[in-house]
Every structure is written in structure tokens, then in C-alpha cells.
Amino acid sequence: MKTNQTTRRDFLKTTGLTTAAIGFPTIIPATALGNADTPPPSERIVMGGIGLGNMGSGDLGNFLNNPNVQYVAVCDVRGNVRNERKNQVDGKFGNKDCKAYVDFRELLAREDIDAVHIATPDHWHAIQVIEACRNGKDVYCQKPESRTLREGQLMVDTVRRYGRVFSGGSQRVLEDYRDVVRKCWSGELGAIQSINVNVGPLPQACNLPAEPCPDDMDWEMWLGPAPWGPYNAKRCSGSFSIDGSSWRSFSDYSSGGLTDWGAHHFGGATFAADLRELQPTEVTYHDEGGKQYLTFKYPNGVLLTHNMPGKGNLEVVGTPGQKRAAKEVPQYSVKGGIYSDFLNCVRTRGNPFRAIEFAINTACVCHLGMIAYTLKRSLKWDAAKQQFAGDEEANRFVDQARREPWQL
């Protein structure tokens, strides 16, 4: 992908010949030189990864095992994770070439890297995606892609400004709800009136006590733009549990289940109901007998409900007896799932299935919901202005100040 890649290929061939000549083992993995099934490095997409714990490790494995990828750099603020992933990459390519970074900015400054995948905690996503785009990288970013409404809009603007390929990281949107999607898009349910999502819990405040920070962890970089708090293993654990034992539980880093699994479920619901290109205009807060739930209203009149009593997850209300014409269901650009879709679009400069606008529109639903639950009242959202209409108090929640020196 880069002009110096012929040199890199020549270099690899040369070093291969040299090591053979001086008597080292001559088994060179196909990943190093290429073969019928594996393109040579000069034709591969050069990638690095930022945030390589639980989800990042899974993403790395998927990209690393794709023959179209030459993986060259890992970044994580935890030394043990960083070293394990570097060794994993080096083992794959049979060399020691993978560079390991604590600071993502050094990785993003490398001109030889075409694309990155990002799986840091949510409070880092916007800063890292925007910095990646400014450095000319294509980006695969784990969901939820943004932490605030303002972040989402700035991410869309930046991806489009620099003409980058961006894929959000929810494979479930297309893959988990196929039956609901088929029923909606086939027209058999008629016009969709409403669809419900059940997901939770909401996040909690974090005031955990200080614990000794591991020597190989850069705590300041883990916190980054989030409010300062002392190291505590639960505060930064990447566990998928949302029960106070992981960063996903705490409101400084995540909106809990509402954005975590919410990104999947709301993404699936808005895809099924063909609302991907829209943002809600109203959020109605209900509190009935101690049970809180929400109704999002879209400009086309379709309702999206959250935790509505008596409704199942992705339960659709259509217009029985009024069958509509079928529409072709959008798909990934190639077979092989969301990772292959992203890589194919890096080559073709197309839009992946989870293009930035679709990803951010889903995140918007989650953030609007979080604000309505926080303020315990209904809201009106002006998507064009990215503001709550005439609601000074709610507009205070469109964004939050980042800890210096971090800014968008």
C-alpha cells in the first residue's frame, strides 16, 4: 500500500537468503514471503492495533489470521499485554519486526501503517479515531464508537474530511438478528410501527479505593481524558461483566450495558427497522410503577422502545395484513464477516457495512437514552444542530470536559 513496500519485500527476501546462507533454519513462513494463498507483504494491508486486551485480542487474532494483512505494531498501556501481543505477532510472521508502543500517537505517526484497529475502553475511542484519521489511517473501532454525542459528530466529520474507511466493531448487527431483519426487509410485516430493545444495566459512579498500580502499567495513559481516579484493578478490568468489577460498569468510561450490548441490540433494531440513517427526534421517559423505560421517536414516525414492559428483545410491531414490497437487505461487501468487509473496503475505498454514520447513529440512541435516564425526563433532539431543542440543562450532557492534555 505504500511506496516503500517494494523495498520491504526485497529486504525480506534478502534477509531470508542471508539467514539460509549462514546456516539458520530455512523454514520461512508463507506469511513472510507469500505464496499462492498468501499475498506477499508488499501487497498486504499494513496494520497496527491499539488496546489489545479482551476485545482487542480477538480483533488482533482476526486481522492477524487474514492473509491480506501485514501486522507490524501493537500498542497497550499494560506491559504484559503489550509483550504477549508482540510475541504473538512475531510468531505469526517468523520475525521480531513487530514494534510495541505505550503511546498510541507514536504508532499512528508511522507512515508505513495503512490501517489500525482500536479496542481501548470507550472513553478513548474518539480521540484515537480522530488522531488516526488525521494521520491518514483507516480505522476499525470497537463499539460503542463514541462516549458522548459531540464526539460522535466530530468522528463522522473527521472520517469524511480525510476520506478514511471506517468500520464500527459490531458484527452482531448483521449476524445476530437475521430472522428479524429478514421479516422486516421482506415486507411481510408491513410498515414497521415499533421495535423494542431490552438491554442493561446502566452504569454506576466509581469511587473505588486506591490499590498498588502494577509496575508495568501506565495508569495516566489508561485514564487519559477521563476524570482522575486512583488505580484499582476493578476500575480498569476489561471483564465483560457490568456488575462493578470492570470499566464497563462505571460512568466515566462507559454507559454500562446501555452502550455495551446496547450498541449491538440498538444497532440490530435500527437496521431491522431501516432506521440506520436517522437519529431520533424525541425520547420519552416513562416511569410506571417504579419501572422505567424509554420510547424513541424517529422522524418517519417509527418508535424504538427500550425495556418496554412485556416486550421481548427486538420484538417488532408491524402492520399485519399490509404486506409491503421487499427490499434487498444490505450485506458485507465480501464474504468473511465484518473484518473482511473492512479490509476489502480499505482496498476498494468503499463504505463498510458499519460505516461511521451508521455506527454513530446507533451510539446516539444509546447516549440520548442515558441522558434521559440520568435526568429522568423526556427530551427533544435536533439532529441537524446536534442539540436538545430549547433545553439548556440537557445540552450540558452533549459532551464532557476531557482531562488535560487530551482534547478532540
Binding site: 469511587n207 476524570p227 459532551d399 488535560e404 478532540l408
Partner: protein, 231 residues
């Protein structure tokens, strides 16, 4: 319950169950629409900032003032801006308080703080988007610390007005600020174009293209020029 929560703030520290201060959040909700009760709540919160309460306690207070803060609590918050440990949480509230006093407090404190804190305040001024911040931010484009100058460029891009765009247009980029000034300039150009000011947008893109831009800025600015032609 609220009285107990304020009492708890006196000894609140890391490790204390945050449920003891939950009544403060509850009061934020229950006082909505009751100006007198809100004012009383705000006054009590701001008073905590003047005590020797812990960092964790003042963190709780600043979060609450993000929602209920007005010009009345700006002086107490502004007093925390030079404090390395509390500056961010002061901005956490000040950035979102719509009254101009909040912006003025940030501008007043700006020259008197260390570079790292200054970057945060610059960012908050950008998010607030006040025209009165353009001149001080423009001056900081020439700051000897590239991180400060970059932050000023980003903030001007956030303000995204014609005067902010002009300030960026007239800036003299250095190696350390070139990318930030280019990005902020394009942010302004996009707004100019959307508002129908094709002349200002095209001039911005053409200036960037004439300045030996990076590959990614060249691509972005070329697309901008094309967008101007198509509009």
C-alpha cells in the same frame, strides 16, 4: 437525606460507597423547576469547594455543578483552575455552564497556569465556542510550546466562526502546528461551505494546498476544492 449527604462529603474519600452522596444527584432531579431550591443546592455545593474536603469529595461537587451550576458558582470553580489536581473537574463544570462568566473565568485564568493545565482550558474555551475567546486563542497560535499552539488551533476549529477561520488563515504554521492548523482550517471551511460562503471555503483549501501539505491534508483539501466547485 440531603443534609446527611453534605455531612458525608466532609469525610468522603476514595473507597467510600458513593451511595452516601446519591441524595445530591436525587436533589438535582427533584429541584428542577424550583429556582429557589436549585439556588440553595448550588450554594451548598459551591461552599464545599472552599473547604478542605478531599479531592474525591470535590469531584462529586463539580459533577453536580456541571448540571446545576450558574454564574453564582463560577468564582468557587475558578479558584480551582490553577490546582493541578482539581483543574480538570473545575472545567468539568465550567465548560458546560452556559453563562458567559464561566468562559470569562477560563480566559482570566489562562495566562497564569502551567502549560498542561492551559491546554485543558484552551480546549474548554473551544468547546464553549465564544467569539470573545478568538483573540486570546489566536495569540496562543504562536506560543513557544507546540502543544499549547496545537490546542489553540484545535479550539479555534471548534469555535468555527468566520473570525476563528480568519485567525487560522493568517497563522504562520510551524512543524509542530501545521497539522492542527490544517485540520482546524478545514473544519471552518466545511462550515463556510455549508453556509454558502464558497469564497472563504475555497480560499482556505487553496491556502492549505499551497503550503506543501502532508499527503492526507492534500487529499482532504483537494476534495474540499472539488466540493466548492460542485456547490
Amino acid at each position: 437525606m440531603l443534609d446527611q449527604a453534605f455531612e458525608a462529603l466532609k469525610t468522603y474519600d476514595w473507597g467510600v460507597d458513593p451511595k452516601v452522596v446519591q441524595p445530591i444527584d436525587d436533589a438535582i432531579i427533584s429541584t428542577r423547576g424550583d429556582a429557589a431550591a436549585r439556588k440553595e443546592l448550588e450554594t451548598r455545593l459551591a461552599a464545599v469547594l472552599k473547604t478542605d474536603a478531599s479531592r474525591s469529595a470535590k469531584d462529586v461537587v463539580c459533577r453536580a455543578l456541571k448540571t446545576v451550576g450558574t454564574a453564582a458558582s463560577v468564582p468557587a470553580l475558578a479558584a480551582l483552575l490553577p490546582d493541578e489536581k482539581l483543574s480538570h473537574m473545575a472545567r468539568y463544570a465550567l465548560e458546560r455552564i452556559p453563562e458567559p462568566d464561566a468562559g470569562q473565568a477560563l480566559r482570566t485564568a489562562l495566562p497564569n497556569v502551567a502549560a498542561k493545565l492551559k491546554i485543558g482550558m484552551i480546549a474548554s474555551l473551544g468547546v464553549r465556542g465564544e467569539e470573545t475567546s478568538v483573540a486570546p486563542l489566536q495569540a496562543l497560535l504562536a506560543d513557544s510550546d507546540p502543544a499549547v499552539a496545537q490546542a489553540a488551533a484545535d479550539a479555534l476549529g471548534d469555535i468555527n466562526s468566520l473570525t476563528a477561520g480568519k485567525a487560522l488563515f493568517n497563522a504562520k504554521p510551524t512543524a509542530g502546528t501545521k497539522a492542527a492548523i490544517a485540520d482546524a482550517s478545514m473544519e471552518c471551511a466545511e462550515k463556510f461551505l455549508a453556509a454558502g460562503n464558497k469564497v472563504a471555503a475555497k480560499a482556505t483549501y487553496e491556502k492549505l494546498l499551497s503550503g506543501n501539505p502532508s499527503k492526507q491534508v492534500q487529499l482532504a483539501a483537494t476534495r474540499g476544492v472539488q466540493a466548492c466547485a460542485a456547490k
